[in-house]
Symmetry: D2
Subunit: 422 residues, 4 copies
């Protein structure tokens, strides 16, 4: 459990990824973003953008960097969560990196789910083109009218009629559903309202072009529609899909979530830390390159301490996330879920703070388009809600902690020894 | 100094402003913003927007709410800073309010400066149409290539040649310069590089259409160009203006800043607190209207304490800003500048936190277009740089504090009495 | 409500208090504390200490500084809470000041209660010697076996038998009960267990020498017994007092609390701020008097910002407490209780932080006997529990805030205007 | 570097330590502390205390738990820093544990130094009885009159005269020097004022009974003299020791510090975390055992989140300290010093906060003698100064970080790729 070292076997892969980002993604980023800013039509790519992405993909494939996140279909072997975490950290440093390697969210989670619980037909139809990077996908969970922090609230219904699931409801923040390449959604629905609370939900495949699927428009995050991929607001108005589109069977929605959420959260967290590391670099760079009142900015006031605190936080977060990844490898997703919650509750909140400190050290430039800090901040701020708001994870952790205390005679006895009167 | 009550005389004005916001601005806001989102061309108004603004102005004028921020030209009397602060608090609750009353930044500061130090010709040409709300104006201070926190760094030069000032340099974050109605800028320039440090700068009137004034484009704040008004990036390339466009004479740039910055900062701060108050309302409203895990959201976890802390912070900030306004009234801008710095260092930072807490209580909706919280957050975050970053104000305060200590025999004696060994 | 200025009438009193502290208390402090450190027997004064205190009292009386906190018995007039707050601020700067003026807690609260609701006999017997400074008193409220944050939990019982109240129960943290001069306690007891929740408690006068009152020993605060006054742990074992020792009648315990707690909390808070002000002085003094790495300590790292933040916090707290005092004067204790809770929830927590920052700037000396910072810290830390823990006050504030929101149609309407979807 | 697992070989030792603490130390603690509270004479043990300690030592020895922190004298092998860190964590949970195993500070550091650089005579005379637990020792470094954060300031002088070092100066916070068993001090002195800055200091052995060594009394920490061991204030007034008492030669004082400080800081940090873990247990225990307002205290307000945040912080700190220990094992003390500084800057500050939260959840009991929380708090607060204040460690970390940035072309290039304008 405490060996957090990357495996020797995975090390060359990490090095290839680092080289790919440095040699391919980093030089392409500025141009890709420049093109995007001039985009006229929102939910398509600007001319030239898709070519940049496709070129990066070709380079990645030719370097053997493709779908490495997936277990080998035949041997069942694959990258451990721990090894993947090291790679995800690097991916966090450049926003093009993930997609160029075909390992963007939510595709990775969707592919994993299809790989694990999909039928052969489902795999042929959706997994194959996803693995080839030909299409993209979405995951529709959150609903606007209920507190999404309590997943039992989910109310989009799916009713079986004549061999078809008839879906009605409303979802929002469906990330990636605006991408013109997006073809398929996995949708969390309530199929069994009379079952026990955690068996009422199912997950179901819904093609984007299904009649009755109405994309109302994007949810803007801090005012951004994040075109072309977007975070869409979708209504299901008697949308019908074949009975066999259900994944793994009725009532298994929560079980599937558990499959996908652990690794996804770890990936998110490690990318977040990669972003914080980048923010630290920007902070130091700025602090060294400007002067005021006769001294370098980094030498003014609390700035050196700000750098130190960022360094400490990043290192501590990194170790905690590696530990959570290791826990998933050793204990399995279910047993490791407290560790995942610890990472998820700790990381985005603190990355927000580090990026915010980096902004402050830049002066007004730090909130402008001349750095990527605002985008980085917004992304991290969003992650404090994605896959469960911080508060839910804190609750999970505290509940486990009190249960552990209650079931440990040793801890209780020690407390009694320590407390003269209680 | 400690009487922070609004004057009886000003009370009816406040009530009229409150009514104007409630009856006119609040109902217009949603439509104004909806129109803006669909704007095709960036730096113009969307069809219908200007009409909404003009209509609000007409209503304001007919209610006698026009240019009340200015001292009476003949009697010299006007609203005290303290009275104005109460009004600014209300203005912070609706982003249309200021403009509808012709008291938006930077116009107010510019009008005040013109009123106080402008020549009759300058007043006729620029102050009059500003007072009528026919044109708008900008204030060009910050430069991209130097640490703007140290105003002595400002390097845009103005050289007198043949009765004209020839201006060369680069400015950015020139708020309002994108507004199609903006006609005039006050520009901070270095005219006297050999004078003593605080006498090198001057302020000068530069019409927007002066040849050599090149608007490179907007600085985006968290990715937003804030069209139509924008925060422009401008190059002065041998821009020439008549000798008499200088304000108050060569080398008086810092003096003029002192005139404008005190009240401006107080207005900003009170509007910020008004925004925080609105965020608190939104927080409570959301907390009461959703349920999770069988309880209202406001009753979960730390949410009640978050509400309480927001309430306390808002009240404390409000009192501090009122005190700073009162200090300006009693002591004058110069003597009161420490109080202004206290307000400026305290308020935007904490308003950011309160708004951020409100976001968190909303779940993902809190960072979407379904509330104004993201815009509110961005505005407050920006204010941590505007008119001097937090760090500069903290430095000003601490320096004053140590000087006060050093010059007080009583305080030093008391410390000696308290410290057995020092 | 917003006029926070001290009355002209009270100003000479403030000046006299300041002079008394500077000329009498400050010079006496070091010697008083030195004597105390060498005390052999804990719950008595060290030889010489009482003489110092008595001498200070004589000086105070001769300066007309005696019992000024009380309303005039005949005219009913007295110092307003606002005026008193200004004085309390000064009292916070020297721990001998209060007692020398006969206005230490809990005597002030006890005297106020006796003055307001005592019978002529009760006044003659207990109020008179208290007013003369001949005896001291205690207030017994908190109990060790229940969560004292919920006052309804209080379980010490008083049962009427043959014209006597028979008291049984256990109290702790009874401040001042260790003082050899302490003669009388006001005890909160449950007399009417069947009444509605807020009518079950009464307050009752119990002489310290009543048989059945067993002082088990002091509660140590951070290990200190705070001799000679102490925070005693007391058991009531069939302690009997005459029927007429009840104050104001059965079931009025909470009403009496309301009388005393408002002003008491304000006094505590203002003294806390006075202590924070002193900590700021110490911080600056130390920062200016030592050097490291070639610079004054105050100029290293974040120290100047720490000074600034302390200054801002102190000023903001001061204004908030003055406002709470003013609210009590204008609205009465009951209506003003939210303001009192705001002060109480804000002040001790932040004073702890300021004092802690002052410690840090002193290096190890800051936690040693060479400054008073540790005592100051402990006192403030204790206040986060006294008269209700922070959490209870936050709850009171948030509850009031949500009720205010729920009952304001204007606020709700404005939120609806601002929220596109809710 | 990333394998943070305890070695298999050391695991049985850890288990024995855990058992020793649980079976021997925990049951003895309450009695030991009770005896100490009744101690009459300060700088001796209370009757019975030494017997408890000696009994624990006998039990430890018989379990093979003795001096395990030291490398084997013959093989040079010993416990790795990483393995020791796991054990130190457990030692932090009971204040008697360290001493019972003969591994208290500053003895461990002193023994390590003697083992590594002592002459055979020095070892025979001082190391042997220390290893046997017969005597104790002190380390005299900090001086009251200079900023100890800058070690170059140290000014106690040692001048060689007639084969003797004549020592003059003043030291304070000499921990353990009050223990009646303390016989020897290692003293940091300036021997070579004309050498380059880091070669001016030496360390020298000074027996406690040397004439001219005057113990002025204890420095009180938060008012506590921490008798019997104490933190003494000592004047060296022409104290003379033989020439050969110098350690490792003139001018090597800083080199010796480097030997001792790394491991010592790691041990401190791990014990701190052990204490925080204990505080978390106390917090949960209290939260579960009291009720207010109809709910368990742990279920009120932010308490569950407080528990969660404590859990996360403890786990993150633990991993960071293990990493630092591992870095010392792999890289050596010198290369690993940045990691040690990270641990030292992070841990005591956050442990203070966790313990403070635990106090708050206890109500007033939390600051009383009925829990050990106040002692725990004071210990952690002290550690924010010991072995360098937080600020010095932050400075070391930030300086290393900017140097790493400046010497990495890759990081600089990536920043340039990311920053459109700089």
């Amino acid at each position: 459990m405490h060996n957090l070292a990357m495996s020797e076997a995975a090390r060359p892969l990490l090095e290839k990824v680092v080289r790919h980002i440095r040699e391919n993604c980093d030089p392409a980023l500025a141009e890709y973003e420049r093109l995007g800013r001039n985009r006229q039509e929102r939910f398509s790519f600007a001319p030239g953008q898709l070519e940049i992405l496709d070129d990066l993909k070709v380079r990645a494939k030719s370097a053997g960097l493709w779908n490495f996140f997936l277990p080998d279909a035949e041997t069942g072997e694959g990258l451990s969560n721990l090894d993947y975490a090291y790679i995800a950290f690097e991916l966090g440093k450049n926003p093009l990196a993930q997609q160029s390697l075909n390992c963007s969210a939510p595709d990775t989670g969707n592919m994993e789910v299809l790989e694990r619980v999909g039928t052969p037909e489902q795999k042929e139809k959706w997994l194959k083109p996803l693995l080839n990077g030909e299409i993209r996908s979405a995951f529709a969970m959150t609903e606007p009218d209920v507190a999404s922090s309590d997943a039992k609230n989910i109310s989009t219904s799916a009713v079986l009629e004549n061999g078809e699931w008839v879906i009605n409801g409303e979802k929002y923040f469906i990330s990636g559903a605006g991408d013109p390449r997006c073809r398929i959604m996995i949708v969390m629905v309530k199929t069994s309202p009379d079952a026990e609370p955690f068996r009422q939900q199912s997950q179901i495949l819904v093609p984007m072009d299904t009649p009755g699927v109405k994309v109302l428009g994007p949810m803007r995050v801090f005012g951004h529609d994040d075109a072309p991929h977007g975070h869409m607001h979708i209504v299901f108005d008697n949308a019908r899909v074949p009975e066999q589109n259900i994944l793994w069977g009725e009532g298994r929605g929560f079980e599937i979530s558990q499959l996908r959420l652990g690794p996804g959260r770890i990936h998110h967290c490690m990318r977040s830390i990669g972003a914080a590391e980048k923010a630290l670099d920007l902070m130091i760079h700025r602090g060294l390159s400007r002067e005021a009142f006769g001294r370098k900015i980094i030498d003014l006031g609390k700035n050196m301490e700000t750098v130190s605190r960022a360094r400490i936080e990043i290192d501590a977060m990194r170790l905690l996330v590696l530990k959570a990844a290791r826990a998933m490898d050793v204990l399995g997703n279910k047993e490791a879920r407290i560790w995942v919650s610890k990472a998820k509750a700790m990381v985005p909140e603190r990355c927000c703070r580090i990026i915010d400190d980096a902004m402050q050290m830049h002066g007004a430039t730090g909130i402008s388009q001349w750095t990527d800090l605002p985008e980085m901040y917004i992304r991290q701020r969003t992650l404090r809600f994605a896959d469960g708001p911080d508060e839910v994870h804190h609750h999970v952790i505290a509940r486990a902690e009190r249960q552990a205390f209650e079931s440990s005679n040793d801890r209780q006895a020690a407390v009694r020894n320590w407390t003269i009167r209680n």
